[in-house]
């Protein structure tokens, strides 16, 4: 009798749990559908985006799936868009709903308190479920872990080489780049160009086994040649004018595809480990957004399984590095080029720690070293 009563209680409890869960699902579904209706009434979604990413949003499936929400994208470099957004807001114009501005630019927006916690726009359980994401958690840039969401990442390739002049097996450590035989044979994408060059120098500077000493010796002993515009350094490398190039991996991969004798040293071959970068794929939710419901629908759909699959597929068409790998782990990565994949079993060092964003000590060090060697 007692067993029957306990069984009955268990049955009642489980049924209640199911009912609550079902009710929850229904209410989430109702919330999703009512938000879609509200978003369709808003009729527009404004995305501030880096130039190279804007097309992914415009040409992705979102526009086809939600035709009543018209996507409008404002593109530019982060250094253009942050002053623009701040000027607009100071003039009382709150125009942006969401933004994808890379790493350091959204951090400035975070510091200016212009962002809402992105989780407030997660309407779908599959987006909220952290177990579906790399390392079993959502990745954020901001120290509070709420605002700047990293949705894709790739290994950091730092060293390109001329295949006729260099044996890549020679490199076991980044210190091997300082071998005197490479003196005058290395071309470097200048730090002043920002982007990849800044990520590279941050990796060297903050790595415990490399640090400022590595940069000091690189710029003082190796007689490196700097360049600022693609594809100047890559062309020199391919023509054999230089043997090594610390340049943007996409440019080297593209040159290789075009048939030039260049390639990249696999980062896993360096004993210092493999950096992993966001490739500027971050998402933020602007506060005081003019189309808050459209923003919620976009963020939820874009970070869902369907949205991230579409992102991987669309990025293959619009990004020169090929399809980018989402940090969602529950979607296939077969179409992602091997060099854009995060592989299991490798220790990756994320390069989106905001404590390392300050470039001043790094540029000061390089300037001092260059000034001593007679270069301004």
């Amino acid at each position: 009798m007692r067993i029957t009563f306990v069984g009955f209680c268990c049955f009642l409890f489980l049924s209640l749990g199911d009912a609550i869960a079902a009710e929850g699902r229904l209410s989430r579904k109702a919330e999703w559908e009512s938000t879609i209706k509200a978003a369709e009434q808003e009729g527009q979604l404004v995305i501030y985006s880096l130039s190279e990413i804007g097309d992914i949003f415009v040409n992705g499936d979102f526009q086809r799936k939600f035709p009543k929400i018209k996507i409008s994208v404002v593109t530019g470099q982060g250094t253009d868009l942050v002053p623009r957004i701040m000027t607009e807001r100071r003039a009382g114009k709150f125009l942006g709903d969401v933004a994808d501005l890379g790493n350091t630019s959204p951090y400035m927006l975070y510091q200016a308190k212009t962002l809402d916690p992105i989780a407030s726009a997660f309407l779908l359980p599959e987006v909220e479920d952290e177990s579906k994401w790399w390392q079993g958690k959502h990745q954020f840039i901001d120290p509070e872990g709420k605002f700047i969401f990293v949705y894709a990442a790739a290994p950091l390739y730092l060293v390109g080489y001329n295949t006729k002049l260099v044996n890549p097996m020679e490199f076991k450590s980044y210190w091997d780049l300082l071998n005197p035989k490479w003196k005058g044979k290395t071309v470097v994408f200048d730090l002043q160009s920002g982007g990849f060059a800044a990520t590279r120098e941050r990796f060297f500077y903050h790595h415990p086994e490399l640090g400022p000493e590595f940069l000091r010796r690189l710029y003082s002993e190796m007689d490196v040649t700097l360049y600022r515009r693609f594809p100047q350094g890559e062309d020199w490398l391919a023509a054999g004018k230089f043997a090594l190039c610390l340049c943007r991996h996409q440019s080297i991969s593209k040159a290789k595809r075009q048939g030039l004798p260049v390639d990249l040293v696999e980062p896993a071959s360096f004993k210092e480990g493999v950096g992993v970068e966001t490739r500027a794929k971050t998402l933020v939710l602007m506060n005081r957004a003019p189309h808050p419901n459209a923003a919620k629908i976009f963020v939820s759909w874009f970070l869902s399984r369907e949205g991230q699959l579409d992102f991987q597929k669309t990025s293959a068409k619009y990004v020169d590095a090929g399809a980018e790998g989402s940090l969602r782990t529950d979607i296939p990565k077969d179409d992602i080029p091997p060099r854009n994949r995060i592989n299991p079993g490798i220790k990756y060092i994320p390069q989106w720690n905001p404590e390392q964003f300050d470039m001043k000590p790094i540029s000061q060090l390089i300037n001092q070293v260059q000034a001593k060697s007679g270069k301004p």
Binding site: V82, M108, A112, A371
Partner: protein, 577 residues
């Protein structure tokens, strides 16, 4: 009676001009409008140079940005480098420009109009493509010309584009010469042949006449072109980035762009550095005004003789020289642009697949191209039409009236040239968002068109002004004596005489607007994106070759407009016999 006699000449002298009160009102409107357009963003930029807060913080004012800007490593050396490059370049470019303009406009060389258009083409070609083209030819180790020279018995002749003289060469081949020929030729064409004939009658040869009669008579336009070139140099940085950075050679504008473009952007420090160019202008504007106003430079009078000089036996060598220079200026960049679009990799001739149509297919199938083309046409045509009307009015008022405030208006028109593009774009954004009248238009093509009309104020007004100086008042007075009013005189007399210059200014404004990036990028959205902004987006996404095709579209558009406008200008303008 005496009262009537004294009053009469004032009325009769310029009856078609607005009466005194109307004139003052006109000047007040012009100074007010131009002051607002030009000074307001400039003042905002200057105010921001004293803002010591980061872009994410509320403003805090102080001198820190100025102190830090001028403590930038290598800043003084870069300023010295800019001056060295600017002066050296003008030492070659200016005499060559004067000589070529004279050959085209004042002598009987063959195909003069074709050659003149060749200089226009060079002016329209992107400087970056020209520099990449010469890098391919003159790289000391891999340059095609250098490799060819090495095979010749020339004793190891080897040119290095990555040197000071390499930078000078690249500037000469980009816009250093073509700008001058383009701007000066219409003025040379309006030179009265009787002056030169008088010189030759006194025993002077053609060269002596050029040096002692023609060139001095062209002083206003020469000074304006020289000053514009020097100022333009302070905002040029692309050539130095490509040819100077690899051997540690930086110019002043590179430092400004570095500060404005770094993360986080130090706009205030960049603005502090930009103010040095304003100081330069403050010194040179009065000097330029004094040089132009101390003498009479009228070359087009009622007895105007549009006759050219017969070069005799020198006709063919002179034709060959001009043809060779046009060849150098046009062929390398055109091949560079075309090579960049048809070659799998520009400059690499030994690839398994050297040539491809893939990039053209990508460019032509880009769904954004039609909207961008439409936007470009709206913005550029607005800039060309409104720009010519507004700036010719300003130029005319500055030269033809004695209204108080002309010095102020003239100075205002010079100021925009001192602001690097990366800062002027921000200044315009601040102005448009800070002005309730403009705010509703934010995000539309209207503000892009307004920004484009404002682009190139200095060049437009100063060139028109320098050309108005050449026109004798007697032509307008004769028109008036025949009973024509202001507008009839303007369209029947002034306009035909100035047609070539106005057409040239309209085409330049069209080109500036079609190629504009930094001053409109902060105002555009994906709906209002122009071709030049589309090209920027394509470069950012790694599709440099597709971007070069977009640039070709801009060039073709500009060349088409230039051809139409030029044939119109040559038909209605002054023609030589």
């Amino acid at each position: 009676m005496a009262k009537t006699e004294t009053a009469q000449p004032q009325i009769v002298s310029h009856p078609w001009l607005p009466p005194l009160d109307g004139g003052l009102l006109l000047m007040a409107v012009l100074i007010g409008a131009m002051g607002f357009y030009v000074l307001y963003p400039l003042v905002l930029i200057l105010i921001n140079s004293f803002n010591t807060a980061t872009i994410a913080e509320p403003p805090v004012y102080g001198l820190k940005a100025w102190q830090e800007a001028f403590r930038e490593p290598g800043i003084w050396r870069s300023l010295l480098n800019s001056i060295k490059i600017g002066l050296t370049l003008q030492m070659f470019a200016l005499p060559l420009g004067i000589f070529l303009s004279w050959l085209i406009a004042r002598t009987n060389i063959l195909f003069a109009n074709v050659f003149e258009f060749g200089f226009w083409i060079s002016f329209f070609l992107p400087a970056l493509a020209t520099t990449f083209g010469w890098m391919l030819l003159l790289d000391p180790s891999t340059g095609l010309l250098n490799m060819w020279f090495r095979q010749l018995p020339l004793g190891g002749l080897n040119f290095d584009i990555y040197t000071f003289w390499g930078i000078i060469w690249a500037h000469l081949m980009t816009h250093g010469i073509s700008t001058k020929v383009m701007l000066m030729t219409p003025a040379f064409r309006r030179m009265d042949a009787s002056l030169e004939e008088a010189s030759r009658m006194s025993g002077a040869g053609s060269l002596t006449t050029l040096l002692r009669i023609t060139a001095p008579a062209m002083t206003p336009v020469i000074i304006v072109v020289l000053l514009l070139s020097v100022i333009r140099f302070f905002s040029s940085f692309e050539t130095e980035l490509l040819l100077g950075v690899p051997w540690g050679f930086y110019v002043y504008s590179t430092k400004i762009v570095d500060l404005a473009r770094q993360e986080p952007p130090l706009v205030n420090q960049a603005a502090a550095l930009g103010s040095v160019i304003l100081l330069f202008l403050a010194a040179f504007i009065p000097l330029q005004r004094r040089l132009i106003s101390r003498r009479q430079f009228t070359t087009v009078t009622g007895q105007f003789k549009p006759k050219v000089v017969d070069l005799g036996v020198w006709r063919y060598p002179a034709t060959a020289l001009v043809a060779f220079i046009v060849f150098l200026l046009d062929v390398v960049p055109i091949l560079s642009v075309l090579g960049g679009s048809f070659m799998t990799r520009f400059g690499f001739f030994n690839l398994p697949k050297t040539w491809t149509l893939e990039y053209w297919k990508m460019a032509l199938s880009d769904p954004r191209i039609l909207t961008a083309l439409q936007n470009t046409l709206i913005v550029a045509v607005s800039a060309a039409c409104f720009g010519v009307v507004i700036f010719s009015l300003i130029g005319y008022v500055l030269v033809r009236t004695k209204l108080a405030g002309r010095g102020i208006l003239d100075s205002i028109c010079w100021l925009p040239s001192a602001i690097p593009g990366v800062l002027s774009g921000l200044g315009l954004l601040w102005m448009f968002l800070g002005t309730p009248f403009f705010r509703p238009f934010y995000g539309t093509l209207v503000l892009l068109a307004v920004a484009a009309v404002l682009g190139g104020i200095t060049l437009s007004t100063q060139i028109l002004k320098a050309n108005f100086v050449q026109l004798s008042k007697e032509l307008e007075e004769a028109s008036r004596m025949s009973g024509a009013g202001f507008w009839k005189t303007y369209f029947k007399v002034v306009f035909p005489l100035m047609a070539q210059t106005m057409v040239m200014v309209a085409v330049i404004k069209f080109m500036f607007a079609a190629q504009a990036t930094s001053n409109i990028i902060l105002l555009a959205t994906s709906e209002t994106r122009t071709l030049s902004l589309l090209a920027l987006d394509q470069v950012a996404a790694g599709y440099r070759e597709v971007a070069s095709i977009t640039v070709i579209f801009i060039m073709l558009l500009t060349l088409g407009v230039a051809l139409i406008a030029r044939s119109f200008g040559l038909k209605v303008g002054i023609r030589t016999e």
